[in-house]
């Protein structure tokens, strides 16, 4: 038998499984969004477009499937005789793929949304600039998961560059997936008490991520920080986000490199 790398098989399989989940997820969000549009038409309240609307939920969703990655897939693949390394590479590639897929679908749906609203001439105003409305309606204690990165991000709010929005969206949800995977791996290896430490670190990662996008931090745990936001040029934010994702993935690899498989 010759030496074979299995990570591409793992990547393709995990991508398809998670894409299937994601399509379900997106269809729920789309339904909710359509209902909100109808409500909005009747009440006259402003509403964010789909890319804006779905962003917060997508992050929560990615956090959850990231956590599942360790528990559901690591045991499963080692059981099939796949090394932890191949699992790690495959799962990382699949996560990147899923993040792009969700971002692309969300962007396309948003484009479609604008076209339909344009054509039907419905009396509704969509924009991504209703920062205040959204933040007021959100509870600060859980706001780290709400679409602040996009709400407060000057780039997405004022940018009409779709491609840029899409990449931001991708990096944002990918970094949250990585955070979820990090928490899941920590629990998997160290059990639930040490797992809390991983949640603490995860929150730190999320705060750093928000800072990178120039978001005002309103999440109460970070009140001790001497600043509430930092200004980075656009490419700096992108680069920073990619580096942050790389660092989190590095941690995950260290945690899972020689981990004992749960039976």
């Amino acid at each position: 038998m010759k030496q074979q790398s299995f990570f591409s098989k793992v990547a393709v399989d995990m991508f398809y499984v998670q894409l299937k989940w994601s399509l379900w997820f997106l269809s729920f969000i789309l339904t909710a969004h359509i209902i909100m549009i109808i409500v909005s038409i009747n009440t006259g309240n402003p509403l964010g477009d789909f890319i804006f609307f779905s962003h917060g939920s997508s992050k929560i969703y990615m956090l959850v499937i990231g956590i599942i990655s360790a528990y559901a897939f690591l045991t499963f693949y080692v059981n099939q005789g796949i090394t932890r390394k191949d699992y790690f590479i495959g799962a990382s590639l699949a996560a990147i793929g899923v993040s792009f897929a969700i971002a692309i679908i969300a962007t396309l749906l948003t484009g479609l949304e604008y076209i339909i609203l344009e054509m039907t001439n419905l009396p509704i105003e969509l924009d991504r600039g209703m920062v205040d409305t959204v933040i007021e309606s959100s509870d600060n204690s859980v706001s780290i998961f709400l679409p602040k990165a996009i709400v407060g991000s000057s780039i997405l709010v004022h940018s009409s560059n779709w491609l840029l929005s899409m990449f931001m969206y991708t990096l944002n949800i990918l970094s949250i997936y990585a955070v979820g995977w990090f928490i899941g791996s920590g629990y998997y290896r160290f059990g639930w008490i040490a797992g809390f430490g991983f949640i603490a670190l995860a929150i730190a990662f999320i705060v750093i991520g928000d800072l990178l996008w120039g978001t005002d931090i309103e999440e109460p745990l970070s009140n001790w920080l001497p600043f509430t936001s930092i200004d980075l040029p656009l490419y700096g934010s992108f680069l920073g986000a990619i580096v942050l994702i790389g660092i989190i993935l590095g941690f995950i690899r260290v945690i899972t490199r020689r981990v004992t498989i749960k039976m």
Binding site: M1, Q3, N79, Q80, T260
Partner: protein, 288 residues
């Protein structure tokens, strides 16, 4: 693929699950791994399957350490009772996964086993009965045809007739496609005929590793009047003594040569075989 285990130890914090275990397994044989609950069977097998690393000593398969070794890991299948309560995949889907990741998988044979065990292809795995889940595990393990296949008490949940099917199919397929099979069990009496060799571990230590045939001829039960039996067994290793009135029955471990057998007959003693089950019980129950 030969397995070579040398001074293998595994410690969990203060507890020594495996203590300096050494033995060799040749390919193409069926090995019975016997031990009581908590003896270290699963610990040993999970190192073999690269689920965990040993604390000390070495374990090599085909000369290489299996841990994170893609070539070796691909050749080892570890079948144990999995928790399927969240497994929504259908039986069919499980077969497809094995087909994708196990190069020797035989689809026809898998379908044959599915029929043999009467498993429903379109039912989600978590809805199968415990016995059916075990049968599915066994099907995946056999049809994967991995050079090293480990069944860790894989029969749990199966009823007796289903277990019989498993044993029969295992022997049939082993005859056609020899590989290294390791069957860990404490159902010794009904599985002993499957084993080419037997390994007994107790409290983390290797107790014995022998060919089954040798082992079966290794011991004997000597029955007769108490004084004659006592006289006869001087110098032999006694496993168990039972006495009823003046009649005594002693299980001895060790070869009886022809002279001894004749001697026993002359003294009017009855020499009977002992079962692996008896041997197992007596080898592992001493230190309670």
């Amino acid at each position: 693929m030969n397995i070579d285990i040398n001074n293998l130890s595994l410690k969990y914090k203060d507890f020594e699950a495996l203590k300096n275990i050494s033995f060799k397994l040749e390919s193409g044989k069926i090995y019975g791994l016997l031990g009581r609950n908590g003896a270290g069977k699963t610990s040993l097998l999970s190192i073999l399957a690269s689920f965990r690393e040993q604390t000390d000593g070495s374990l090599t398969i085909d000369g290489e350490s299996p841990f994170e070794n893609a070539r070796i890991m691909q050749s080892v299948a570890f079948i144990y009772e999995k928790d399927y309560s969240d497994e929504t995949e259908k039986v069919k889907g499980m077969l497809e996964v094995i087909e994708r990741y196990r190069p020797n998988f035989d689809k026809e044979y898998a379908n044959y086993l599915i029929k043999r065990f009467k498993l429903p292809l379109d039912k989600p795995v978590h809805k199968l009965s415990k016995g059916m889940q075990s049968a599915l595990n066994v099907t995946l393990g056999l049809a994967g045809r991995t050079p090293i296949t480990i069944f860790d008490e894989a029969y749990l949940g199966m009823d007796a007739p289903t277990r019989e099917i498993f044993y029969k199919e295992l022997l049939d397929d082993q005859a056609k496609h020899p590989r290294t099979m390791i069957l860990s069990t404490h159902l010794v009496s009904e599985m002993d005929y499957l084993f080419d060799e037997v390994i007994v571990i107790n409290q983390g230590s290797l107790v014995l590793h022998e060919e089954y045939e040798t082992l079966a001829s290794r011991g004997a039960s000597i029955t007769g009047s108490a004084d004659k039996v006592d006289d006869f067994i001087i110098g032999m290793k006694q496993l168990n003594v039972q006495q009823l009135g003046n009649t005594k029955s002693v299980m001895v471990y060790g070869d009886l040569n022809e002279n001894e057998r004749q001697d026993a007959q002359l003294k009017g003693l009855e020499v009977g075989p002992i079962s692996l089950q008896d041997l197992f019980i007596h080898l592992t129950s001493e230190e309670d």
